[in-house]
Amino acid sequence: MSENLDHSLQDPPQLPSEFGTGPLVRKNSAITEPAWVRWLLIALALAFLSLFLLLPLLSVFTEALRDGWGTYLSALREPDAMAAIRLTLIAALIAVPLNLVFGVAAAWCIAKFEFRGKQLLISLIDLPFSVSPVVAGLVYVLIFGAQGWAGPWFAAHDIKVIFAVPGIALATVFVTFPFIARELIPLMQEQGTDDEQAALTLGAGGFRTFWSVTLPNIKWGLLYGVLLCNARAFGEFGAVSVVSGHIRGQTNTLPLHIEILYNEYAFAAAFAVASLLAGLALVTLALKTFLEWRYADQLAAAHRR
């Protein structure tokens, strides 16, 4: 991250600046704070983070195991929970590849070409981030619902969209729409077109150029985007809640299953299912941190930070 810019690196490495006791460290005292101020600020920041981030995370796992491993495992083995896991996987398996293809296509035309209205296009791609998830669900109800414009047509052809898997997948696609594109666009803009020009000059076709030149260049950025997109796809609640209809064992995703269990006062079971998603969030964070650390030079996100 920013550690290479940290002024304390100018000090002898054995003496990190927060231990500001050595004479060499004092040299920089003009642009740093007294040790007690530094420690106070660090303590405040860490207390804030622990209170607002670590404690909630910890409580998920504690509450999940409150009634012991038996309850925990049976909550996960329950048929409705299994159905919810399956549906969540299906929604993510539809949403992530679709947004992957879109993200690569969008980044290709935005990064490799100049055209009018490009900035507007970038803003429009970011749009789903600023729309409330509930409104995102509502828009599909207005189109595909029983009273919607396309609703009667779909009903006549016996296709269920709302309160069924297609609606859930659509809502998931909407909320995870920008993730991959917004990671790839700045990355590919930065990489320019030199490599592709070279490949084309050497006689490679367009697809071959993309496959063996562009793709290897963007693979870590792509993985990074997929990771974030996937985490959101698994956890989306508001948008999916509107279109799902909450039919147990049929149209419940994992987050919706948590809500139902919680509202039935099955707290241990709700937290057991929640701990699955919290575990996924931890894996996501770990992989994300690993990518940022190992492949920082090949990620746009790491450059921005």
Partner: protein, 288 residues
């Protein structure tokens, strides 16, 4: 346009633009995919909300939006989001400062956890926060004897909004703080400025555009948030009922017109906010 000097030299001058435009293939295909997919998934559905809202007419819209329950929910959603965003601006700046400027044990671990609200599903965050702040929870049990109620109270809404908005300020301010030139601070110190003066007169002015952007992003996210709030809020009509929840309630009552009217109002407000952020950033870029 990114022009490679080597390839440009090969072509005759008159052919240059045409050749380069053709040099990289796939423009039509990728732009076509992008525009169709964007329109199908995002633009047309969102336009549908306005189309439907327009069918209600001004009177219909105003009738829904001016009802006491809707007004109370808007006041709560925007008011709580504002408080949470201010809280996040203050602590986000502190966290960004500490992580950019100081070294301490466990820094990398904590740094990874800052993104937790992005990765943790909102429903999980919601029940976890409720468990913490309820009367028998780890935090609630110490606050309750003091007469402070957070869960099932508007304050709970603020807590949930603070949680989900936390990374926005930190992640927007961090790169700006990291880039801030040490030389300027050294110059200020050389000229006799104390540390406090240097911070308020040299560092803060370079950071505040990023701080304001992060604040606006956290605010926008908090206004639309649903999943983490409904568990902790208690959802008492007129007291702790947020606007997105009201949309869902209207839908469950099959009041599609009412739901659409509220959604259109929320969409418009978030578009205006987005526009304001973009204009502000453009203004800051021009000023530099």
């Amino acid at each position: 346009m990114p022009i490679h000097p080597g390839t440009a030299r090969i072509h005759s001058v008159s052919l240059r633009t045409a050749q380069q435009r053709r040099a990289i293939p796939g423009f039509g295909l990728t732009l076509g995919i992008t525009l169709s997919y964007l329109s199908l998934i995002v633009l047309i559905p969102l336009a549908g909300v306005y189309f439907k809202a327009a069918g209600l007419g001004w009177d219909g819209l105003l009738h829904t939006l001016s009802s006491a329950r809707v007004l109370a929910s808007l006041k709560l959603s925007f008011g709580a989001a504002l408080i949470a965003a201010i809280f996040n601006a203050v602590f986000g700046l502190l966290v960004a400062w500490v992580f950019v400027r100081y070294r301490f044990p466990g820094k990398r671990l904590f740094d990874a956890f800052i993104d937790l609200p992005f990765a943790l599903p909102t429903a999980v965050a919601g029940i976890a926060l409720t468990a913490l702040y309820a009367g028998n929870g780890w935090i609630g049990r110490y606050l309750e004897p003091l007469g402070i109620q957070i869960a099932y109270h508007p304050l709970g809404v603020v807590v949930a909004m603070t949680f989900i908005g936390l990374p926005f300020v930190v992640r927007t301010v961090e790169p700006v703080l990291a880039e801030a030139e040490k030389e300027l601070e050294e110059a200020a110190a050389t000229l006799g400025a104390g540390r406090w003066i240097t911070i308020t007169r040299v560092i803060l002015p370079s950071v505040w555009p990023a701080l304001l952007t992060g604040f606006a992003l956290a605010f926008a996210r908090a206004v639309g948030e649903y999943g983490s709030i409904i568990f902790i809020a208690g959802n008492i009509p007129m007291v702790s009922e947020i606007t997105p929840l009201l949309i869902i309630i209207k839908l469950e009552e099959f009041d599609y017109a009412g739901a659409t009217a509220i959604a259109a109002a929320m969409l418009t407000l978030s578009f205006l906010l987005l526009l304001a952020i973009n204009l502000f950033q453009a203004w800051v870029r021009r000023k530099r």
